[in-house]
């Protein structure tokens, strides 16, 4: 095999038309082994049929395989020499990682290509870390599928591997590198035996699985070839895995040791486990891992689920785990794997009874987290952190305690978690979306709403000094009015004591009238003057102060205006009934307030006007566009 490896590497470097194809040691070993399987030495070229089978076993679509054969040069050369074969393997690895099939993509560091079609003798040799990769890639299929089906096969000890796992094989959350490979590909029963063998020992190994020895017994009937060798090899891997503590059955699942390590690292950055690590701290920390910045950026995107620029403990664990995985050669997934979701991580070591409570508390803590998002997106000040820590306390406390809980309970919680994680994730997404929509709704709408409401509620000061006894009632009425305005346009005050009529109000279709101004004939003059002022004031702002279309604000303002119009229309009807008394000082004050209110109304109207004009402009433009289109068409019809 060493000869093959050396020869293979030489061929790879020399035989690719000058393209220096970097192969890591593990890749070299694997490729040479595959090559020797496909093409028994002393031939120089791999047999077409075996190569074809191998490629099919990579589970890529046939088009991709054709592409690969073309790109690697086999078509051109007519056979699969070592160089072509190696390139093809690299391309398969690239395609399985989601890269396009091109020479450029294989220059990157890639994981080993995965073939479900490995025969027994190939796997027997798995004792090296390189081949560990290969097997582990495959095994996680079994265990991943197994875990996902735990939902339906509630802790089924006799879980049949082949049928339930094959059809529904496309979990969006799992890394793209892990294709759920249906068991029904062309190698026949030996492979299915292998699959089950994969699953069985890993079930044994996985601390959460309850079927310790029984499953191996179940599959004892399967081809005996695979059984013993696989068991031996996999048990060897198991030991290696236990010692390495970097991989688990599912590379996206965090083991206890890993978790403790991550928590300690978190503690070194942020002593309070319930609070956040800010973005810049995390950036410095993860930059030390010497991964390229775009990858770190992608890792951050995946792990910062609530997009707040800071990492909570589960988010940090997920990010760290992704970094570790990447450094060990795993490709980063497109979406966060289910096992790395914060909700999942938080609940991962909890008992099932705690799960619901935890998710409730976590989802409660989400709004808290989102509030801080609004505060700042960069450094998290220590003052803000305690706000969230209180909310997160429940969830985190449980988490801390849970870390010490025995892991034997993992299986059962997982079933619940799968169900609840989804709902919690949906909840969290919904919660995330809601504050987003709130904070990102056009800010000017809120401004406009506030401003729209301000004019209706000027202080009822001027009315206090009416001479008549009814002035007290008037004050009350005014206060009633203002409150009515604030509370949402309640019907007008009792007709018995309406405020002194100011005739001008009938003409001012605005909130101003709710603060009925004054009393009598001078009000006429006032009305005329204010009406004139209105007209005058409205004209200069005709140049739109804001040239932006604001149908929303319009929509908001018109409801504001219409209720006020309703209210005010009833008021003037009542006012003339009251007798009026003149007092010039009161009039003056009233006039001044009226002026103020009119100005405010004017501002509102001017805004409305500008918006409408903008709309008109745009409609004009569209009309012009339509007309030009029509013109283009017309000559055809005329002729």
């Amino acid at each position: 095999m060493e000869q093959g490896a050396v020869g293979g590497s030489a061929a790879a470097t020399a035989g690719t038309g000058g393209l220096l194809l970097p192969l890591s040691e593990s890749e070299q070993q694997r490729y040479s082994e595959l090559f020797s399987r496909c093409c028994p030495p002393p031939e120089a070229a791999a047999g077409g049929s075996s190569v074809g089978e191998l490629f099919r076993a990579s589970q890529l679509p046939p088009d991709t395989l054709h592409q690969i054969t073309e790109v690697c040069g086999a078509k051109r050369v007519g056979y699969f020499g070592p160089a072509q074969f190696y390139i093809a393997l690299k391309l398969i690895a690239a395609a399985q990682s989601g890269f396009p099939v091109r020479i450029e993509s294989i220059k990157n560091e890639l994981p080993l290509p995965r073939f479900m079609a490995l025969t027994n003798d190939g796997e027997v040799r798995y004792g090296t870390p390189a081949e560990l990769h290969g097997v582990k890639f495959q095994v996680p299929h079994a265990t991943l599928e197994k875990n996902s089906y735990k939902r339906t096969d509630e802790g089924d000890k006799q879980e049949p591997k082949s049928p339930p796992m094959s059809p529904i094989c496309s979990p969006p959350a799992s890394p793209s590198t892990y294709q759920r490979i249906p068991l029904s590909y062309g190698y026949g029963k030996s492979r299915s035996g292998l699959e089950q063998q994969h699953g069985a020992p890993y079930e044994v190994r996985h601390p959460t699985h309850q079927q310790d020895g029984s499953s191996s017994g179940n599959y004892g009937a399967k081809p005996a070839l695979a059984c013993s060798t696989l068991n031996r090899s996999l048990s060897a891997e198991r030991e290696q895995q236990d010692s390495s503590a970097h991989y688990s059955d599912d590379p996206w699942r965090i083991t206890e040791e890993q978790r403790d390590y991550y928590v300690n690292q978190f503690r070194s950055l942020q002593p309070d486990l319930n609070s956040f690590i800010s973005g810049s701290m995390a950036k410095n920390f993860f930059t030390k891992s010497k991964l390229p910045i775009p990858e770190l950026s992608h890792i951050w995107e995946l792990s910062d689920v609530d997009c707040d620029g800071a990492l909570t403990l589960p988010e940090f664990c997920a990010a760290f785990h992704l970094v570790v995985a990447r450094k060990n050669g795993y490709q980063l997934p497109e979406t966060l794997p289910e096992t790395l979701l914060p909700e999942y991580l938080q609940a991962a070591s909890l008992k099932p009874m705690r799960d619901c409570a935890l998710f409730d508390s976590y989802s409660e803590s989400l709004p808290g987290g989102q509030q801080t998002r609004d505060f700042s997106r960069t450094e998290k000040s220590a003052e803000e952190v305690p706000d969230n820590s209180a909310l997160l306390q429940d969830g985190k406390k449980d988490d801390k305690q849970a870390l010490k809980v025995s892991t034997a309970l993992k299986t059962i919680p997982k079933e619940f978690q799968h169900l609840t994680v989804k709902t919690a994730a949906q909840e969290s997404n919904a919660l995330k979306a809601r504050p987003r929509s709130r904070s990102y709704s056009s800010t000017s709408i809120e401004d406009a709403m506030k401003k729209g409401e301000e004019p209706p509620t000027p202080p009822p000061r001027p009315q206090k000094s009416h001479s008549r006894a009814s002035s007290l009632d008037l004050n009350k009425i005014f206060q009633q009015n203002t409150q009515a305005v604030r509370s949402g346009w309640l019907p007008p005050p009792p007709p018995a004591l309406p405020p002194r009529p100011s005739v001008s109000q009938t003409e001012q279709p605005s909130e101003v009238e709710l603060h009925p101004q004054m009393n009598r004939p001078p009000s006429q003059a006032e009305e005329n003057s204010s009406a004139k002022k209105e007209v005058v004031l409205s004209q200069p702002p005709s140049k739109p102060t804001r040239r932006k279309l604001r149908t929303e604000t319009q929509g908001l303002e018109t409801p504001e205006l219409s209720p006020t119009i309703n209210v005010t229309s009833s008021l003037p009807a009542v006012k003339p009934h009251l007798p009026v008394q003149k007092q010039s000082s009161k009039q003056k004050r009233a006039i001044q307030t009226a002026i103020r209110k009119n100005k405010e109304t004017n501002a509102v109207l001017a805004r409305l006007n500008s918006e409408l004009q903008q709309q008109l402009k745009e409609v004009h433009k569209e009309r012009i566009a339509l007309e030009t289109q029509l013109e283009q068409l017309r000559p055809v019809t005329v002729l």
Binding site: G279, S280, A282, K283, I293, P294, L296, S297, H298, W300, E301, D304, C307, D308, G309, E334, R373, R377, T378, R436, S437, Y440, S442, T443, S444, D447, A448, T545, R546, R547, K548, L549, R550, T551, Q614, E618, K621, E622, A625, T628, Q629, Q632
Partner: protein
């Protein structure tokens, strides 16, 4: 259907361009470049006092016979421009607004990423997916 989405930084160079592959894409790039002038004109016309009241959504920048250009600017002068095919009359203003809002939200998510330096080209896969889905769903 949305033909082209562009995000430009305050210095008017593009941070992100995503277009439906057509021939003559360059024409759309040029259109967006010229529409940046219209955007600048709109935001400068506001005057200093009214900056707070300025609407983020700029609306139809200008229509041509084939397509329309819509603009949106954030408070930090980052501009989003979208070129939409005129033949699609079903696209209402509200839909354009919601698309801009989604763009804005996703852009904010990118800004949250401490590894992203403002002014860099945007390479985020999640962002790409979002924009793709948004542009495709309209078609």
């Amino acid at each position: 259907l949305v033909l082209l989405s562009v995000i430009c930084c305050p210095q008017n160079y593009p941070l992100y361009i995503r277009s439906v592959p057509t021939e003559n894409e360059l024409k759309f790039h040029y259109t967006v470049h010229t529409s940046l002038d219209v955007v600048d004109e709109k935001i400068s016309a506001m005057g200093k006092a009214l900056v707070d009241q300025r609407e983020l959504y700029l609306g139809l920048l200008y229509p041509t016979e084939d397509y329309k250009v819509y603009g949106y600017v954030t408070n930090s002068k980052v501009k989003f421009v979208m070129v939409v095919d005129s033949s699609n009359t079903a696209l209402r203003d509200n839909e354009i607004r919601s698309m801009f809002r989604k763009l804005h939200n996703s852009y904010t998510d990118i800004m949250c990423n401490p590894f992203y330096n403002p002014g860099d080209r945007i390479h985020s896969r999640a962002f790409d997916n979002m924009v793709n889905s948004m542009m495709m769903q309209v078609c």
